[in-house]
Symmetry: C2
Subunit: 196 residues, 2 copies
Amino acid sequence: MSATPVFTLPDRRADSAVRLHPLLAGRWSPRGFDASYELTDAELTALLEAARWAPSAANAQPWRFLVGRRGAATFDAIVELLMPGNQAWAPRASLLMVAVADTTEAPTAPWAVYDTGQAVAHLSVQAEELGLAVHQMGGFDAAGVSERFGLAAELKPIAAVAVGRLDPAADLPEPFFERERAPRERRPVSELLIAS
Amino acid sequence: MSATPVFTLPDRRADSAVRLHPLLAGRWSPRGFDASYELTDAELTALLEAARWAPSAANAQPWRFLVGRRGAATFDAIVELLMPGNQAWAPRASLLMVAVADTTEAPTAPWAVYDTGQAVAHLSVQAEELGLAVHQMGGFDAAGVSERFGLAAELKPIAAVAVGRLDPAADLPEPFFERERAPRERRPVSELLIAS
C-alpha cells in the first residue's frame, strides 16, 4: 500500500491522444457509490429523457427499463438478481436499472440491442453532467429478470445499470478497493481499425 | 411550402421535460451534410478516441471500424454497399464508417453488439462537441461488407455511420428535404418503463 489516504482516488480521466469532451474523458465505472445519496426526481427524469432522445434504427426506440431507487421493491429485486460479486457493491447505488431491448418490431429488431446500448450511453453522459456515475453490469440473471418481472420473450434484459454519486472514501471489500484505483486501459486506436 | 427560406432548419433540439446537456439535446441525425467539408486528422482522432474510451463488459472493447474519408477507396466502397435511399445523401458526408462488433471473445460476446452501440454513441457525442453531426444507417449490405473487406465470421457489421458538418442549405432530393425539417418525435418516458 502507498501512503495515499484511502479517501482519494487517482486521476482516472481517459488518456487520449487529443482532447475529449470532459463528460467523456471523465466518465468511468465506479463501485464506490455514496450509500446515503438519494436521487432526486429531476435527476431521474433527466436520465430517462437522455435515453429517450437517443437515435435508433427507423426511430424504433427499442429501449425499455426496469427502474428502482434504493429502498424500492424493484431495487431490491434487481439486487437479488445480480451475481454475488456485484451484490457486494451495487446496493450502495442510488438507482438500479435493467436495460431491456424490445425486439418485437421485426424490421428493426436486428438493431434493438445495439440501440439500447446507445440509449444507456446517452443516459451515462447525462449522469456525468449531473455529477453522477454509472456502472453497467453483465453479471446478472437475465432469465431470472424475465421471470421475476413477467417479461415477454421479445423483451431481452441486456445490462444491469447502477447509478449514484461517487464516494471516494467508500470502504469497498477487496478486490474492489484495489480495482477502483487500478490504471484504466484501452486498446490503441490502431487495433480498432479494420480498414482506413 | 411556407415562406421559410430553404437555408434554415427548424429548431430540432430534443423536447425534454427537464434540461438535457446541450450535446444530447442538440444531437440529431441529418442528411444534409456539407459536401465540401473535409474532416481534419485531429477531428478523426477525437472521434475514434471517444469510441475507444466507452465502457464495455469486462472491458472487452469489442468495437471495430471500417473508416473512410471522402475521396478514399474505403469511403467509395461503403457508399456502394449502402441501400439506394442512403446513397442519395450519404456521399455528402466527410466520413463514412461501418461499426463492427467483434464477437470472438466468448464470455463477453453477448454484449459485443450492445457495447458497439455505446461506442458509437460516445463517438456521436464527441462529434457534436466538434460541431459535427452523425447519421447512422441500418440500410446497408452487411454481407457485402463482410465479403468486400474479408471479415471473419465473428466480426459482425452492425451500422453504417456518416459523419460531417451540417449544411442547412443542402439541396436534398425528396423525401429527404422534407424529412430534414419534420418534427422530431419520441415515445413518452412512461412507455419506456416496464417497472419502476
